[in-house]
């Protein structure tokens, strides 16, 4: 599936996953494609790719210029954009 078919534009200043939510990090194929194609802020760092598929919890949410939600996850390094997260099991 093309990355453009998977990604949805986040709602400005309205996070899809509030603090405490369970989330999955997208699979490795998606992260690789996202890393290759995303040309804006908070690019994925190589070490983040190893956490593909991991279930974790949202620790903090920030909002970049333009209103893009930026996530900090429990026990997972780095900052994550909403496009790379999926709803987890409650």
């Amino acid at each position: 599936m093309e990355i453009s078919q998977i990604m949805t534009e986040p709602t400005p200043y309205k996070e899809a996953f509030p603090v405490g939510s369970k989330v999955y990090i997208a699979d490795r194929a998606f992260l690789d494609e996202f890393k290759r194609t995303w040309e804006y802020h908070h690019k994925l760092r190589p070490e983040q790719l190893t956490y593909a598929g991991r279930q974790t919890t949202v620790a903090e949410v920030g909002f970049y210029h333009g209103g893009d939600p930026v996530y900090t996850l429990s026990d997972v390094p780095g900052l994550w954009l909403e496009q790379c997260l999926r709803p987890g099991l409650a």
């Binding site: 400005p12 309205k14 802020h41 920030g62 970049y64 210029h65 209103g67 900052l79």
Partner: protein, 279 residues
Amino acid sequence: MTGFTSKERDAETGLDFFETRYFSSAQGRFTSPDAPFAGQHKEDPQSWNMYAYVRNNPLRYTDPDGRDCSGGVLACINTIAGSVGQLGNTFTSDLINAPNRIIDTLISPFTNFRFGDVVPAAFTPTNSDQQEGAAAIKNTLVAAPVVAGLSQIGTVSSTVTDVTTVVHYTSDTGMAGITESGGVLRSGTYVTTPGEIPAGASSSTVEHLLEIGPGKGTNSVTFQTPSSNLVTPANGSTTSGGAVQFQLQNPTQINPAGFKPTNTPPLKPPCAPGGTCGN
């Protein structure tokens, strides 16, 4: 609708019409700069701020036409005289006395002993207007740097309101959302400092500098917040594009009327059939 100092208020924008420019009563600032040399005096640095209203002293002066303060010529002259006198003090006695004053501040919680000034001030204000002019200069040239220095070593920070001017860029949709929320920027919102963005930069330049998608830098709001409300983001103090960045630690109220459109380049004219295209 009547606005500040009985000027006509624009119902749509909330701005007051001051003959030559508009005034935002919410911010206490004109929305456009003073006409060159209309109200600036080289002897009076307070007049160099081209957006300020009557030297930031609306209780004493008024500005009938958006060009200069009117509180009596003598009052203005005395204010300038106070500024000039304090300038002389600053570059003579204040600088010489600064080390002793800093040490006196540092030891004040522990002892009543004071080293005191080494030399007396050369100029003493003799009326309230001169005192205001002198105080303005003293705060700008002496107090602010000294306070900033003391704050860094954590001595008097509790007594100082240390604020930083920051700016947040957003899209039309984002601006509408912030406005609907009552003008609250949520905790964790990223900001930068105005100096990071060149004056008059187009929205595409802003979007490039901040690494945001097209249309996400079309509006900005500049505001002051306590420096203690700014934290360094987890990915560092600069973006990967090199712009300084902070995050707001707490939800922060801004004035939605303070949103300004980023400079948007004019659209290219359409190509005429068989003709040349405009650039």
